[in-house]
Symmetry: C2
Subunit: 419 residues, 2 copies
């Protein structure tokens, strides 16, 4: 035996893994440049992770790291105590300031970890109004991110509130440790050299996207229980996956984890019906058992077993909210899918299954999009909306075909796996 003071094994292990996550976030996720500013948003419970990331950022040469911490307690207090008129107000002055930071070259990191059930008991009308006000305020800043003006990244932090929602029967420290372990595994951090593991994984995603780009399909066809959906692809759509090059010249991996290859559907060329394969956690509400029908790209009929009212509000945000802005393919055997866990967080759940997204398209998923405005992109089929909400339609029971521009079928996935 020795007399050294030791942290409990979990705490020491999590501490060491936090440092790995900090390094992978800065080096692999953001690929932060010398003298670059970094803007972070994070839950208050992410303070230890933010400190690791900030230290790695300064060591990598960052000029200034600015973190906006968000507090679930005060967010909830607003719904409990503020006057009704408050819910159309958003901090536009702040969102515009952040947009200016991006225009000035700052990188962006979002640390996700919010309690998916935080606003479950609140008036859905107020929640929707607050979300709409936020979406409007953030349109310019979000536009710079979706147009890939700067290097950016999203990673996750196991917060106590999120962990309690996922593991309600465990004591809080156990729940948090379980969630951390799931995040570390999904984020490919548990091997001997995470930075190298990410390089390899990224190359595999690039190879998959290159094959799909070469094929230049006119549409994808999804078939399975409750689903018979043809997703037309935008003219000049580009498949992306893993790392990309931002307009500032920096190669980064915007999501950690990421398992998807994804592209832009044609907003007017989606036909048929589709059933969700996993629940969608949307800003505090779980929407489950979604079934929708598309005609000429537009959702004309929508149901959900749970959260239908919230789904209806989402679809009512604007015309683009009823159309698709993304389609993504993820094999059923992805590490996140294999974990068997519903994270109730898009960063993870969208990487567990093939999915589609309602709302805004990514201009970067269009060939030759540089310099084109929303109207020009829209003429080629790219959708516009205040929202971008991914929901899962893939599973081990789903087959996907590519349909060539000449109308021929090519099998892409069978029973959820790449052919």
């Amino acid at each position: 035996m020795d007399g050294h003071l030791q942290l409990p094994p979990d705490a020491a292990r999590i501490d060491a893994m936090l440092d790995r996550l900090g390094e992978v976030t800065v080096r692999t996720g953001l690929n932060l440049a010398e003298n670059q500013e970094l803007v972070i948003t994070a839950p208050l419970d992410a303070v230890p992770l933010v400190r690791r990331i900030t230290e790695h950022a300064y060591r990598a040469g960052a000029s200034l790291v600015t973190t906006f911490f968000t507090d679930e307690v005060t967010r909830l207090a607003r719904f409990q105590h503020a006057p009704d008129a408050a819910f159309d107000t958003a901090a536009t002055w702040l969102a515009d300031g952040v947009a200016n930071a991006f225009r000035g070259g700052a990188a962006r990191l979002a640390i996700t970890g919010e309690d998916p059930a935080l606003l479950a008991g609140q008036d859905p009308d107020r929640v929707a109004r607050a979300n709409r006000a936020n979406a409007r305020a953030n349109q310019a800043a979000l536009g710079l991110i979706t147009n890939f003006a700067v290097n950016w990244n999203i990673v996750a932090c196991a917060t106590p509130s999120w962990a309690r929602t996922l593991f309600p029967n465990d004591p809080e420290p156990v729940a948090v440790a379980r969630l951390w372990d799931a995040i570390f595994a999904a984020s490919r951090l548990d091997g001997p050299d995470p930075v190298a593991a990410w390089r390899e994984h990224d190359q595999a995603l690039h190879a998959r996207a290159a094959l799909l780009n070469h094929a230049n399909f006119g549409a994808l066809h999804f078939r399975g229980p409750g689903t018979d959906l043809t997703v037309g692809l935008a003219e000049g759509h580009a498949w992306l996956g893993g790392s990309g090059v931002a307009a500032n010249g920096i190669t980064c991996i915007p999501n950690i984890p990421t398992e998807e290859v994804f592209t832009t559907p044609h907003k007017d060329r989606v036909e048929g019906h589709v059933r969700s394969s996993k629940p969608l956690s949307y800003q505090g509400t779980l929407i489950d058992g979604i079934e929708v029908r598309f005609e000429a790209g537009r959702i004309v009929d929508a149901h959900a077993n749970r959260g239908e009212a919230v789904l209806e509000r989402v679809l009512g945000t604007d015309d683009g909210a009823r159309r698709l802005g993304e389609v993504a393919l993820v094999p059923h055997s992805s590490p996140i899918s294999r974990s068997g866990l519903l994270f109730q967080n898009t960063l993870f759940d969208e990487n567990a299954a093939s999915h589609i997204a309602l709302g805004q398209a990514y201009a970067t998923c269009m060939h030759g999009s540089k310099g084109l405005d929303a109207a020009a992109l829209g003429a080629r089929g790219a959708n516009s909306s205040l929202i971008h909400i991914d929901w899962m339609i893939g599973s081990g029971e789903i087959d996907v075909d590519g349909i060539t521009q000449g109308g021929e079928r090519q099998p892409l996935m069978r029973a959820g796996e790449w052919c």
Copy 2:
């Protein structure tokens, strides 16, 4: 005996007092209006106080409360790990965003509680560069506050790092509780009705300012050990104290605590020498034993027993940094002075003693200043600078005379007390 579970007496008492501080901050300090936004800056350790304040703000009808938490650990990490070029960078995009919030009508609350010794071991040149970059970035936002565009307030939070610096021999929880008690007493929160106590105290400060405004002195003369200083007053200077009316029509008390009546010196009419009566804690450095000599309003000679290099850097910020922007009278018997504690925080220490401020003048301390620009105010003697730094020159050994426009002397203070 009863079987109720109880918090330790200190925790329960501090908790109840935090709620009082929250109420006084929102009702008395800010006088927050229905549907007004509120922008808070706060140390991370102030989370429990921020939550109390935010709840009171929403109950008072706030539309949105946005808090920027600052983290001493990451602030220090920048000095330890960032490249040298980093220290001229500031978040101008954020400061401009906050300025836009004020232009849009948001109230401002600063919660102070930083460790006065945080940057004591860091390269003073880097500290000065970072401070200058921050001051430049914040010029527009700070201008809106000094010009009283909106209701604003500063209150304090007993953070562990501040408490440890003040009470290094106590265990941390004891140090924090002692600092809280000092803050509560200084902030006049321990009586049965703090809101009423503040109303009464405010009336006394207004009465004192009215007398001084009626006298319309041409200068003040300070005399005591090491001090023989004549401070000419700006033409049309106005004495203020306690509450004031912001340009948005809201009456607020910008500092809690506040004990001072203060006005605008003439930037070209300060003559003689003055010795500081208490140390000045300036952004991480304690500057003690300051002795300066003024000629025609300008500091021509400056010494300090401790922190002289930092003082020299401060004076070198710009031309206005060597001239006065404020002179304030505080009786030696103020509650803060009686506490005998050097808080190493301007909010408290400036209210323990009469003081002068280097740098920017408050336009609100000039009669008829509305609509006048800096040049017009400067022609009447109001100083301009990137900085505004108060330092204490009053004590139980200082006499102050008012000198009328006709040149006659009137005793104002003897041995630090009002005549």
